[in-house]
Symmetry: C2
Subunit: 433 residues, 2 copies
């Protein structure tokens, strides 16, 4: 049964059928790459990408999708709505399937490029960016460090806490991160704060939800249909300068500690590719308050979570010089989040706030219940008090110049080909002083 199901998803591209590929025929994540000086949309298949602009030109795609597929970003496709999303996915699945018509296959082959040799751009114009705080494990452990008397605030189990992030400073995977400079807490009240390169630069392992369907200002999205507004997901790294953050964040939240850069994977995994990996929302302890009706999901799995093994790796300069493999720092899973994607959307719009096509709602740091499943160095090193030992003998409390951070994600379910979310990676450059 399992083998049959996998055989049914066989592509004519041999490398798409390898058990190790992130991008089998059942995945088809979207991206945008540079082709002859232009930005073209594409989907990944095995170790290749299929140029959607070229496919549209060759008549391989329905005419109603030509303009969207020849746009530089996914926003136009998103705004055409779920029927268009489904039509494109069905068309591309047929085109890349082992049973594809030979004349279609021939045209598609002409639109294939190696992923390895390609340069990627941000696949979506992101009008607004909201970052949540949906992991109770992260909120509790981070809270212990900043507010030991009250780690988890009284609102946490009632409200999906979130804040607006900076939409302008997204970088696509591969672009470097310049260490930011900022103010940190002075050693005493009468002393001036330092204004120096951060010495507590951290990553945050997150998932981005791309909003594909907007809502009208003033009209909330009910939780029953909230999941339908999501076009796809991506790996996201919410870089954070912890020393700047702890000094600035009262009373209005994080600002320059985070808005210098956010890295996003080039790959947008469409929601239907995640269908086999859906799981119910994490069960809440019986002593926890029930979500208010506007946040209450039914048993419907579309309002639940998704099972993705998320991993964070570090690759230091010395590790690169010694040709070592990236070292695993964290492992976690969004199925452990306290709030589901549908709850985030329902809360965000509960006051009539309007989401726009291409908006990112991020989960916040995804940490699991175990200390080893913490999704950032703040938690892993107890705010620097417990350095990590790397295979080279180096230690890390926070990130150093030259360190590269790599996020990966992987979905497995019996009877279904594994899919991988690709990578979101970036190297730290020294501050400009």
């Amino acid at each position: 049964m399992a083998k049959q199901s996998i055989a049914a998803h066989k592509s004519w591209l041999p490398d798409a059928n390898h058990a190790t590929t992130d991008f089998p025929l059942t995945h088809l994540p979207y991206a945008a790459f540079t082709r002859e000086g232009q930005q073209h949309l594409c989907v990944a298949i095995g170790s290749h990408l299929l140029d959607l602009h070229a496919c549209a030109s060759s008549g391989l795609l329905p005419p109603t999708l030509t303009e969207a597929c020849q746009s530089p970003t996914l926003n136009l496709l998103m705004s055409q709505g779920p029927r268009s999303w489904a039509l494109l996915r069905k068309t591309l699945t047929t085109l890349l399937h082992a049973d594809a018509k030979p004349e279609h296959k021939e045209k598609a082959e002409a639109a294939l490029h190696s992923i390895a040799g390609s340069t990627f751009q941000k696949p979506v114009h992101i009008p607004n960016y909201t970052d949540f705080y949906a992991s109770i494990h992260h909120a509790t452990r981070a809270g212990q460090l900043f507010r030991p008397d009250q780690p988890l605030l009284p609102n946490y189990k009632h409200i999906p806490i979130g804040y607006h992030g900076r939409a302008s400073s997204f970088l696509v995977s591969g672009e470097p991160i310049v260490r930011p400079i900022g103010q940190t807490r002075p050693s005493a009240e009468e002393v001036q704060p330092n204004f120096l390169p951060t010495s507590k630069l951290d990553y945050e392992l997150e998932l981005a939800l791309y909003i594909g369907q907007p809502n009208t200002q003033g009209v909330p999205i009910p939780i029953s249909s909230a999941a339908d507004h999501i076009f796809g997901i991506s790996l996201l790294n919410d870089w954070s300068a912890r020393d700047i953050q702890s000094w600035e964040y009262q009373p209005l939240g994080p600002f320059v500690a985070k808005n210098f850069a956010t890295s996003i994977s080039p790959w947008v995994t469409p929601i239907p590719a995640l269908e086999p990996f859906r799981v119910p929302a994490a069960p809440r302890p019986a002593t926890d308050p029930k979500p208010l009706p506007y946040l209450h999901s039914t048993a419907d799995q579309k309002s639940g979570s998704v099972n993705v093994l998320l991993e964070v790796f570090i690759l230091t300069k010395r590790m690169k010089a010694n040709k070592l493999q990236p070292f695993l720092l964290s492992e976690s899973n969004p199925q452990d989040l306290y709030w589901t994607p549908a709850q985030l959307i329902a809360h965000h719009t509960s006051n009539g706030c309007n989401l726009q096509v291409g908006d990112i709602l991020a989960t916040g740091t995804i940490s699991g219940p175990a200390q080893a499943s913490a999704g950032c160095l703040l938690e892993l090193t107890h705010n620097g008090a417990q350095p990590l030992l790397l295979p080279t003998g180096e230690t890390r409390t926070f990130l150093e110049d030259g360190d590269e951070i790599i996020l990966r994600g992987s979905c497995k379910s019996p009877g279904h080909p594994r899919i991988g979310l690709g990578e979101c990676r970036a190297t730290i450059l020294p501050a400009r002083v």
Copy 2:
């Protein structure tokens, strides 16, 4: 001397020369209005507006400005840079001046429309919105209500505190505000929060700074040139649901308490129009810390503040029925802010965060030292404890359905025509329940 200066700014439009107009020849604020189903840019002059799209078509504007002046928003003009801004302003000033060439005047007359009969749109596409907290008087009085033990936090005098607001939910003056629904603090820990229409809907009197010149990500804007990045200013009302805010704002700042709507005036006052009204930054008490070097302005008035008498009026349903004039609630002035516009920009970009063309940086609530100069009801009524008495005998703690809030701003300086910032107004509609 004064009379000469005013005479030098005489327009051939008689109503532009009245002492009471907000829009003399020295002002020429930009806006966008609806003309035959299209959105056209314009400038205000007296009680009229001059259609820039039509002016470009008639050959009244330099060819290098045609595309920008025929765009639906100011973003293209902004992105052409200060030389283009100055060229357009000079051209329009000459065109509307009493000494204009008759053939130009005739063509311009054909592009004039009455402001009273026009419908306005948002004049700028706003990619990002940042809200600051630059009034120490507001921060202190609001802090007294939420944190009586520590009203002003230790970071306040070192950092221009700010947070990212919601760019999608801007409304132009005249569009109504739907009362938002949200969670409020439960009466006891074991009780569920309420989820009801806010009963503490408030206005916040602010100024918006429109960013006209961007910076590259990773490259801070030094304070010495920060003011050059501002294209113009507008009145802004940052609607706030205080009961939702006080429950949600820890630890990541305000979110659904504010992101349902922000009102913006249709008028963008260009910076050169404010030249006669510039003032040095408010002097800091000698006991206050000096700003760090990256926030230290020279005596150059461009890095200072501006003298604008700001006013907030309320017009209730009953006041309208009784044909009463709007009632003055607050009076304040941005010259009392602790942080100047240049300091806000220098801080925002100090970590390399990139500002984009059309971004709004808002000052935060502008309150003066006196209780009567508080820029929001939270302060004026002590969080509802001291209701205000209106001329109808009605009282207000926070806003009620049907209330209209009107912001106005006025600049005076001896020897210069007065200019007014126009109005930013909106009426509260009942919640959709």
